[in-house]
């Protein structure tokens, strides 16, 4: 009997089916809790699903690589979903165009804050040089962040993890901060989470309000562009 179970496990562990199914299950559990708590930001579904899956992989001693063979099918959809962000952006473009100047200034201010404050805080607390350089592009979408990290001397794969953690922090804590600084304008709220927390912040903004979602989508795209251009130049200036 236990021999049969063993065989079933050997089959499942080698097949992408298991990784894919547990990813969807973990997310459904996370999303249900999130909705039950009326979209309470700290109950972020990405955070809950990641915690569940990290726990599961640790308990079963499964390697991340094995898990990812199944989960990559979900991961792959990030590309077409990013392209699809043009739709909410198009629908709200009238609003975007009217605030173009404000948007550009806020974007540059946010982009510089995101990199500079991360490096300064990390440096004050004794982070290694490699860690600091990996932290610098943390607020932009993963592929750009990894490219920038490599260019300025960080660890691209560490950056990928820091980017995801940043997204979760921004999506979970963004509403709270915006309430504290009394920002009620949906355009500003969307832009803020899009700049600070890329796609994960954008996902949260889309769930809350369509105007916020459109500004977050745009902010994510433009911050990727701004960081890719500005950060390597700044790094060269500061590091000499």
């Amino acid at each position: 009997m236990s021999g049969d179970l063993q065989q079933i496990w050997v089959y499942l562990a080698a097949s992408p089916l298991l990784g894919l199914t547990v990813t969807l299950l973990a997310y459904l559990v996370g999303f249900r809790i999130y909705r039950r708590l009326k979209l309470f930001p700290l109950a972020n579904p990405v955070l809950l699903a990641v915690l569940l899956l990290v726990g599961l992989l640790s308990l079963t001693g499964t390697e991340y690589r094995t898990y990812f063979e199944g989960a990559q099918f979900v991961h792959f959809m990030l590309g077409p979903a990013t392209v699809a962000l043009a739709v909410p952006l198009y629908r709200q473009f009238g609003l975007v165009r009217r605030s173009a100047t404000a948007l550009s200034v806020a974007l540059i201010a946010g982009s510089l804050t995101a990199s500079a404050s991360a490096v300064i805080i990390g440096w004050l607390l004794g982070g290694s040089r490699e860690t600091l350089l990996s932290l610098a592009p943390k607020s932009v979408t993963t592929p750009v962040a990894m490219g920038v990290a490599e260019k300025i001397g960080g660890l691209p794969s560490l950056t990928a993890v820091l980017v995801i953690l940043t997204g979760i922090i921004g999506a979970a804590g963004g509403s709270w901060v915006l309430d504290r600084v009394r920002v009620r304008d949906w355009r500003a709220r969307g832009l803020a989470v899009g700049v600070a927390a890329h796609g994960i912040g954008t996902a949260r903004a889309l769930q809350v309000n369509e105007v916020a979602g459109a500004f977050a989508s745009l902010a994510m795209g433009l911050n990727a562009l701004a960081t890719a251009i500005l950060l390597p130049l700044l790094a060269r200036l500061v590091l000499g």
């Binding site: 043009a86 974007l107 804050t113 991360a118 963004g174 355009r187 803020a192 600070a196």
Partner: protein, 119 residues
Amino acid sequence: MLEALTLLLGLQLIGEVLVRLLGLPLPGPVLGMALLFVLLAGLGRVPEALERLTNTLLQHLSLLFVPAGVGVIVYLPLVAEQWLPIGAALIGSTLLTVAVTGWVMSKLAGRSDTDTDER
């Protein structure tokens, strides 16, 4: 539905190819987003099939970040070793960025809206 999915994948593909050909500092899908925006602006409306697919995809956009997020497991030792600078930098800087961006935007966008009304 199938046409809409093919369109999204096709634009991502064109985005990836252009980024590599022209050496642009952007990910392919972000350029694909810009291309789709231009297409929609030219068309003047969002086709219904694309609208439906987009709603489905974006409603659960956060699901798509889960597999990469689980990657944290590989870096737990490194993150644990420098947990203070990394944790403080991520939390402090991300929340500060939200505050700065939101505050600047709300101050400036409010003003430019009144400007438009006055004209």
